[in-house]
């Protein structure tokens, strides 16, 4: 495949020969990929394809059997990276008995972020008016946005977001994708997972994962060309079936 991306910036994430076993089962095997800097890369694939495991490995909380992951030039999980990588877990990882602002202040304090950053990230996720609500009383979608806000605080260089738009309404999803693209325009790198294929068009680059293997990479138009389908949903189905056959 021809890579049309500019070669100036080194990739933010480089994965080589990655092998991960969870509960005795090999989830990722001999995986190699790279994520370009300053872009939104979509990590797509059906449930159980290994997206979360890969993201956990990138942020350094997953036990890795073999292979290497380099993040921003350093081995994944090394202490300096904890300042530079923002992570949003798949299930909202926030304190339910605290208010939204109390949660963000705690994460902000750990990261030594300026106190104003709490309001900034609240605005990005459109939760300013819910700032003083206790998280347990929020809806699932609102809780997911608080969790996203905790990943944004401290303006990390790399954002690893595990299904940040799941369960959100279309308007909010569009706004969040816009925010992700603005962050990329500011030079941040984003790796965003989703099992909803129609979100792929918001990304600069795509990684399609199926059963722990990479079945397609490239820009959305590359993927269309590769599969011979215009509709991305159909393109992915075609590529996945091709693998199976």
């Amino acid at each position: 495949m021809i890579d049309y991306r500019p070669v100036s910036a080194a990739p933010s994430i480089v994965v080589e020969k990655l092998r991960i076993r969870r509960g005795g089962v090999i989830v990722l095997d001999d995986l190699a990929l790279s994520v370009a800097s300053g872009k939104v890369t979509g990590l797509l694939g059906p449930s159980g394809s290994g997206k979360t495991t890969l993201m956990r490995a990138i942020v350094g909380v997953q036990i890795v059997e073999s292979g290497s992951i380099t993040v921003l030039g350093e081995a994944a999980g090394t202490p300096p990276l904890r300042w530079k990588v923002g992570y949003m877990t798949q299930n909202p990882a926030v304190y339910g008995d605290l208010t939204v602002r109390e949660n963000l202040r705690y994460f902000g304090r750990i990261l030594d972020a300026a106190p104003e950053s709490v309001e900034e990230v609240l605005e990005t996720v459109d939760m300013t008016s819910f700032g003083d609500r206790v998280v347990n009383r929020l809806s699932g979608g609102q809780r997911a946005r608080v969790s996203l806000a905790t990943a944004l605080i401290g303006s990390p260089q790399l954002l690893v977001l595990d299904e940040p738009t799941v369960g959100l309404d279309p308007v909010l999803r569009r706004d969040l994708w816009k925010a992700f693209n603005e962050l990329a325009a500011q030079g941040k790198t984003l790796l965003v997972s989703s099992h909803v294929m129609d979100e792929a068009d918001h990304c600069h680059d795509l990684l399609l994962l199926r059963e722990g293997k990479l079945v397609a990479t490239g820009t959305p138009s590359d993927v269309r060309a590769q599969s011979g389908r215009q509709d991305l949903d159909e393109a992915f189905l075609a590529l996945i079936n091709e693998e199976v056959a």
Binding site: I63, R82, P92, A93, Y95, D97
Partner: protein
């Protein structure tokens, strides 16, 4: 280890408690009610109340903090916030020290409230200084916190965590010398009581409430209590894994 992250964590834990006024009320009022009950129970045998009242004041915070900590830490593990914290620039020691700081403050408050009632209103009188009881209560609370932190690693659900209280704490209360002097115990029970931390916590309290018994044995009691606290914290830290499978 960083003071910033430690204080942030202590502040967060205290905010969680402040957001739960019922738990705070129970923490402060239950010991008072129990001491009152004890005083009434021995209304015509004041000497018994005078003998065991002091040491009991110093044991309440231990039990309360054991329970509160094991549940709080279990929630942290189950809800995914622990995994989230492990991706942040936060040392395991920061989490533990933050918890210790927060719960020591609560324990101090608890000890002061129950001591004020017992010494001031219920006519409890100890030969030793009452501040010694309060100080020992705080050190015992940190021991309880450390033990709770450690056992929380062995519970998967809150039901299990609660059961550690009768399994782990009650035998120690029975064998510490409160109910039967250790000298009168059968050999094997005495030997068992020799290796349980409560025995030393109780002995220190019992000596502190008697005049002129801050002797070598008291120093040993303190050394053992502090030593077990440090050991339990170290073991607790080893159960906080940055990478999981």
């Amino acid at each position: 280890m960083s003071f910033r992250a430690t204080f942030a964590t202590a502040l967060r834990v205290l905010t969680q408690l402040r957001r739960d006024p019922r738990t705070m009320a129970l923490l402060l009022l239950v010991p008072v009610a129990l001491v009152f009950l004890l005083e009434q129970l021995f209304a015509d045998r004041r000497v018994v109340f005078q003998q065991i009242g002091g040491p009991l004041l110093g044991l309440f915070p231990l039990i309360a903090m054991f329970l509160v900590t094991s549940i709080t830490m279990l929630r942290e593990r189950v809800s995914g916030t622990l995994e989230r914290l492990m991706a942040l620039p936060l040392a395991k020691l920061d989490i533990l020290a933050g918890y210790a700081l927060a719960f020591a403050l609560v324990a101090a408050l608890q000890a002061v409230v129950v001591s004020t009632v017992a010494f001031g209103f219920l006519g409890l009188h100890t030969q030793g200084p009452s501040w010694a009881v309060v100080l020992l209560a705080i050190s015992n609370a940190i021991l309880g916190m450390a033990l709770g932190l450690f056992v929380s690693a062995f519970a998967r659900t809150e039901f299990q965590a609660i059961q550690f209280m009768p399994a782990f704490i009650l035998p120690q209360i029975l064998l510490c010398g409160l109910f039967t002097p250790r000298a009168q115990m059968a050999g094997w029970m005495r030997a068992l009581s020799d290796v349980l931390p409560f025995t030393y916590a109780y002995d220190a309290l019992s000596r502190a409430t008697k005049l002129g018994t801050f002797d070598g044995r008291f120093a040993l009691d303190l050394t053992v209590t502090v030593g077990v606290t440090v050991l339990a914290l170290a073991l607790g830290a080893s159960t906080l894994r940055r990478r999981t499978g």
